[in-house]
């Protein structure tokens, strides 16, 4: 090494920008090998194990519970029923009262007098080993006086329905209305429909799905004096801590919640679960550490489900294909109880059913319905996949009605690039994008003209395998969310995010984020952001998260908000570090702050070559504080809280080419191409991964997954044998691309990618299958498109019908009106607030 090369600074090239690099994820080695801190890997000294006794019936009064045999079983320490905790368990919280008169029946963590769905917790075993706890479950003798069940939403709202909760007057929880006309952001919907030349009406069914995260849920609680530490496989440690304090009365400052490495969530761990409450109550009662970890069957049955809507969609247009109005009447199945954001999930869709199109008139109504099934709540996309499905399916139906090309119809009606920012009929201001550009790229990727030619050939030759091409465009309100908007929607919290940056003496950097990673790659992306901002090596950055003592402020990870909100907080904190370091640098270089430049991690004096100091050196000087500017605190650490001004609106065009075997009904995706605009891309590898995973889940809704209940309310898809989650072997190669329109107003320019693939793919797949067989008389096929449904739609007409043991899920019958009641005393949270 020569002396010149050895000299720091002047001639060395600027380090490559980290943002935009396809860095491999630094957290993957431990996550993939499982050699890490999964909650169920945790062993606490003296730890006891919990097993939950669950209801095998969907609706019943509990007349007696005999726990004596279980109590005497080997290794069993205690058995608790709902009655044992009736005075302290309160209700599982619902943080989103979507209407002032929303009915909340109350949700005890352990059932006390009645059970309202199969899988509801009725008792908990505490034992010295997990095996002993599991053995004792069968020894608890519960007398159930069975009650009739209601499982179908349209029946639940019909005349004289069976009541899910007999202390309520009806099965309706809420009736939410958003009318663009009444809100002054769109025309009158009734007039638009009265004047329309063409009206197309359809009823779509969004089947019930199960989030099916890879790591089943688990929770452990360590009491220490009057303090409690909870480890939970959760997406939302901060929300969980607050809510547990409100429910159980353990004061917030006496409760620490840790989300260690968490193996996926997809919204399924955006919850305050009965099991978390139970674990805390048992630990408090016994003063001993406890752990509960669920089996897969338990998870499928009792962790919250997603989707489950019946959608009545009307679209109005003129003969030339200009859309004139959209009317959506939605029934949303809450299941038996309201959980954390159950009612809010369909309401998120209220602002998205119009998609990317310029509807002059728009009205959305949603009724939340109770049934004797597992509660529903957030699942990847939460309300927006349902909305996108409806509008993208009805656009295809309108195209058929008008006999125009479905893509041309979309083009005619979507917002043009030069029209951004655009305020929609739902009152949202879309920030940026170019739908034409994304679509053009997607058409190229999939080889559109060639596929259309092949489709013609197959039709002409009456090939048993027909080919269809389906489109879906999408946008979503991402980056949840501006706090004032959440407030206007009665959401129980804000939407800001917090970060802090700690500069260590050796120049290493600790980044503390309020976002709570559960597989997304935050540690990698955040390191890239900070490396660029501070000019330090990627490897010198450590990201800390998921512990309310380490990251005291945060609102966690869901709704594609981490990078868009949490990432900005990180960047803002880094900028504050640089600002504080500048003062120190000026002192060290004996220069005026205004004469300093900061680049590549170094402050240099403008016009004075060789006079420079690195931010990592400044960190050491700050630690020593031997020679510090007067009146300046010896710290360059900083924190920042960011509250976005607006949502971000990623968008994309997805195209699916589908083969349908008309002899068997088997559908097979031939090609899939999508071009997403998620704004500025921090890590292309992570973005690609998020898109692939999202596509897999969205395609799974279209083709594979469905939670089916039998007529008694038993989940018949209770294992992965019947609840079909596809693997890589079942999915096609994905041709993905991006257009990039940086999100205006977002310092990173990112729009959010976590839910994109999942939102857009489902309607593209269904539209493709229908395009393949529409000329054979098929108008609709119900999801998932099982081979049998496709075959029956082809041979018997209709939408393929229900599945053999799915009688209760058939959604037959007509809709009738009922009125809402009022909130009930049972819905009150129980704790000391």
């Amino acid at each position: 090494m020569t002396a010149v090369e050895d000299r720091p600074g002047i001639e060395s090239p600027a380090p490559a920008r980290e943002v935009g690099q396809a860095r491999r994820r630094k957290e993957d080695a431990r996550l993939i090998t499982g050699r890490t801190t999964w909650t169920d890997n945790l062993v606490l000294p003296g730890m006891l194990h919990l097993a939950v006794v669950r209801s095998p019936v969907a609706h019943a009064k509990i007349s007696a519970i005999d726990v004596s045999a279980a109590q005497q079983a080997p290794g069993v320490i205690a058995v608790f029923t709902g009655r044992d905790f009736a005075d302290e368990q309160g209700s599982i919280p619902c943080a989103w009262p979507v209407t002032p008169d929303m009915v909340n029946p109350g949700h005890p963590s352990l059932a006390v007098d009645e059970v309202n769905h199969v899988g509801e917790a009725v008792a908990v075993i505490v034992a010295r080993s997990k095996a002993a706890a599991a053995d004792a479950v069968e020894l608890v003798d519960v007398d159930y006086d069975s009650l009739p069940v209601v499982l179908d939403m349209e029946e639940a709202l019909g005349d004289q329905p069976v009541l899910t909760h007999d202390h309520l007057q009806s099965n309706e929880s809420f009736h939410f209305v958003f009318d663009g006309g009444e809100n002054g952001v769109a025309d009158d919907t009734d007039r638009a429909f009265a004047d329309a030349e063409v009206v197309v009406s359809r009823r779509f069914v969004q089947q019930r799905l199960i989030p099916a995260f890879m790591e089943p849920r688990a929770v452990a609680v360590q009491p220490q004096g009057d303090n409690y530490t909870m480890w939970s496989s959760t997406q939302v440690p901060h929300i969980l801590r607050l809510m547990l304090a409100m429910v159980t009365g353990v004061p917030e400052h006496k409760l620490r919640v840790i989300a260690p490495d968490v193996g996926g969530g997809f919204g399924g761990k955006l919850q305050v679960t009965p099991e978390e409450v139970i674990a805390l109550l048992v630990a408090r009662r016994l003063g001993k550490p406890v752990k509960w970890a669920e089996s897969r069957s338990e998870s499928l049955m009792s962790a919250h489900h997603g989707r489950d809507q019946v959608q009545y969609i009307d679209i109005a247009a003129d003969r030339e294909g200009n859309v004139k109005g959209l009317r959506c009447r939605i029934l949303a199945d809450m299941g038996a109880y309201l959980r954390l954001v159950s009612p809010g999930v369909p309401i998120l869709g209220a602002f998205m059913f119009n998609g990317i199109y310029k509807f002059p008139a728009y009205r959305f109504e949603c009724r939340g319905v109770f049934t004797n099934k597992t509660p529903t709540d957030a699942y990847r996309g939460a309300g927006r996949p349902e909305a996108t499905f409806a509008v993208e399916r009805i656009m295809d139906e309108l195209a058929v009605e008008l006999d125009v090309d479905p893509l041309e119809l979309r083009r005619k009606n979507w917002i043009k690039a030069e029209e951004f920012p655009f305020t929609t009929c739902a009152g949202m201001t879309y920030d940026s994008g170019d739908y034409d550009a994304a679509t053009e790229q997607a058409l190229q990727l999939i080889g559109y003209d060639e596929l259309r030619a092949e489709q013609r050939r197959r039709r002409e030759s009456n090939d048993p395998v027909q080919l269809g091409i389906g489109f879906s465009t999408f946008t979503e309100m991402c980056g949840l969310a501006p706090s004032r908007v959440l407030g206007s929607l009665s959401y129980g919290a804000g939407g800001w995010e917090h970060a802090s940056i700690r500069m260590l003496p050796t120049g290493k950097v600790e980044v503390v984020t309020g976002s709570s990673a559960h597989g997304q790659g935050h540690e990698t992306a955040w390191s890239q952001l900070v490396a660029d901002r501070l000019g330090v090596p990627f490897e010198d950055v450590e990201v800390l998260h998921g512990d309310t003592s380490i990251a005291p402020r945060g609102l966690d990870t869901y709704g594609s908000r981490s990078l868009v909100v949490g990432g900005v907080a990180v960047v803002n904190a880094a900028d504050k570090v640089v600002a504080k370091a500048r003062t120190v640098a000026a002192h060290m270089l004996e220069a005026n702050e205004d004469d300093l430049e900061f680049a590549g991690g170094k402050f240099s004096v403008r016009g004075t070559p060789g006079s420079e100091v690195g931010i990592q050196e400044i960190a050491l000087a700050t630690f020593a504080a031997h020679d510090f500017p007067e009146g300046v605190e010896p710290s360059i650490d900083a924190d920042a809280t960011y509250d976005p001004e607006n949502f971000s609106f990623p968008h994309g065009t997805h195209i699916c080419a589908m083969e349908v075997d008309t002899e068997t009904g088997f559908v097979k995706i031939r090609k899939y191409a999508c071009v997403d605009d998620v704004g500025t891309i921090v890590n292309p590898l992570i973005v690609e991964g998020q898109v692939h995973g999202g596509l897999a889940q969205g395609i799974a809704q279209a083709l594979y997954e469905e939670a089916v209940y039998d007529a008694d309310g038993n989940l018949t898809t209770g294992t992965f044998v019947d609840y079909l989650v596809p693997s890589a072997a079942d999915l096609p190669h994905f041709d993905t691309g991006n257009t990039v329109h940086a999100a205006p107003g977002n310092p990173i320019g990112a729009k959010g990618v976590g839910e994109a693939g999942c939102i857009a793919s489902t309607p593209a797949v269904v539209n493709a299958a229908l395009d393949a067989v529409r000329h054979l008389g098929v108008r609709d096929i119900r999801m998932p498109l099982t081979p049998e449904r496709v075959w029956r739609a082809l041979h018997d007409g209709g939408d393929g019908g229900g599945r053999a043991t799915a009688g209760s899920n058939a959604y037959g019958g007509a809709q009738t009106e009922t009125t809402a009641g009022v909130s009930t005393p049972q819905s009150a949270l129980g704790g000391d607030r």
Binding site: K130, A131, A134, D135, E138, S295, S297, E298, E663, T664, F666, Y704, V708, T716, T717, T719, V721, D722, L724, V725, P726, S727, A729, D730, T786, P787, E788, W791, R792, R803, A804, T805, A806
Partner: protein, 285 residues
């Protein structure tokens, strides 16, 4: 889930295994690859008092030639089947069907004999064994006996195995070059059980079909033969028309179940389509 408590025995020879089974009494279960037994024990759908693990009984593993037969040891794993040179030459129908069994992990542990004794009509190997008229060699306290496939599969998850007996090996006819084979499986995702599947082995003589053996998976409580189709194929010229006409009889005499994936009438329809495809592929159409 955690299985209910059970005693565990791991014999090293067939003799020890038979003794362990006898000692275990009524509530004994034999563990081969464990790919069906362990899940049902974990779900507590089965709670045997004693589990006899055959994993160390080396004499039960492997494939050998005996005259016109192949002899497959009961503990030969699916992965062994897929790499065995004798089966590659004379047992291509078995190999094809085994390739479709579940996933790589299951094939590594699951066994040929275990899959047959489990006798799940949705499993892939029973219909193949039936189509090939396999012979099942059983040993028990009373000695050794051989049961033909037509008598081995008695009912849903039920075989001719008597209490205390063990399947030790399965004898398959060698199919030479004049046989064409095809296992046509229909399922929704790669690792799933068959909704319906068809195992076809067809021998050609010149332009005609000399002999056809067709096994049906998941078309009843046991694997079935499509006898009417087999009969209709014998002696006909090889053509799509003759194959299609014969395959139209594939569902005759079947009484498949209805479940989430298919109602009975759809299964019967699939049996016809898949039989046509399997036979056509087997004869090279």
């Amino acid at each position: 889930m955690i299985p209910a408590p059970f005693d565990y025995v791991r014999p090293a020879t067939v003799g020890e295994a038979l003794q362990a089974i006898a000692d275990g009494g009524e509530d004994v279960k034999v563990l081969a690859g464990g790919q069906s037994l362990i899940p049902v024990m974990r779900l507590r759908l089965a709670a045997p008092e004693t589990v006899v693990d055959l994993g160390r009984v080396a004499e039960l593993r492997g494939v050998r030639e005996e005259g016109d037969s192949l002899v497959v040891g009961a503990m030969t794993t699916h992965a062994d089947v897929l790499t065995d040179p004798l089966l590659a030459r004379y047992g291509r129908l078995v190999v094809q069907a085994t390739e479709t069994v579940a996933d790589r992990q299951v094939r590594r542990r699951g066994t040929f004999g275990g899959a047959l004794v489990h006798a799940d009509p949705a499993g892939d190997l029973p219909a193949v064994a039936l189509a090939l008229d396999a012979e099942f060699v059983l040993v028990g306290p009373g000695g050794r006996r051989t049961v033909p496939a037509t008598e081995f599969f008695v009912d849903y998850l039920t075989t001719a195995l008597e209490e205390g007996e063990l399947l030790v090996e399965v004898r398959l006819p060698k199919l030479g070059e004049d046989w064409g084979v095809r296992y046509e499986k229909f399922n929704r995702v790669a690792q799933a059980w068959s909704i319906v599947a068809v195992a076809a082995a067809v021998r050609r003589e010149g332009g005609r079909i000399a002999e056809a053996r067709i096994g049906l998976t998941n078309m009843g409580s046991t694997p079935l033969r499509a006898r009417a189709t087999e009969a209709a194929l014998v002696g006909v010229d090889v053509s799509m028309e003759t194959v299609t006409a014969a395959a139209a009889q594939a569902a005759e005499g079947t009484s498949p179940s209805s479940d989430l994936n298919a109602r009975a009438d759809y299964r019967q329809h699939l049996a016809q389509v898949l039989t046509r495809r399997a036979v056509a592929a087997a004869v090279g159409l």
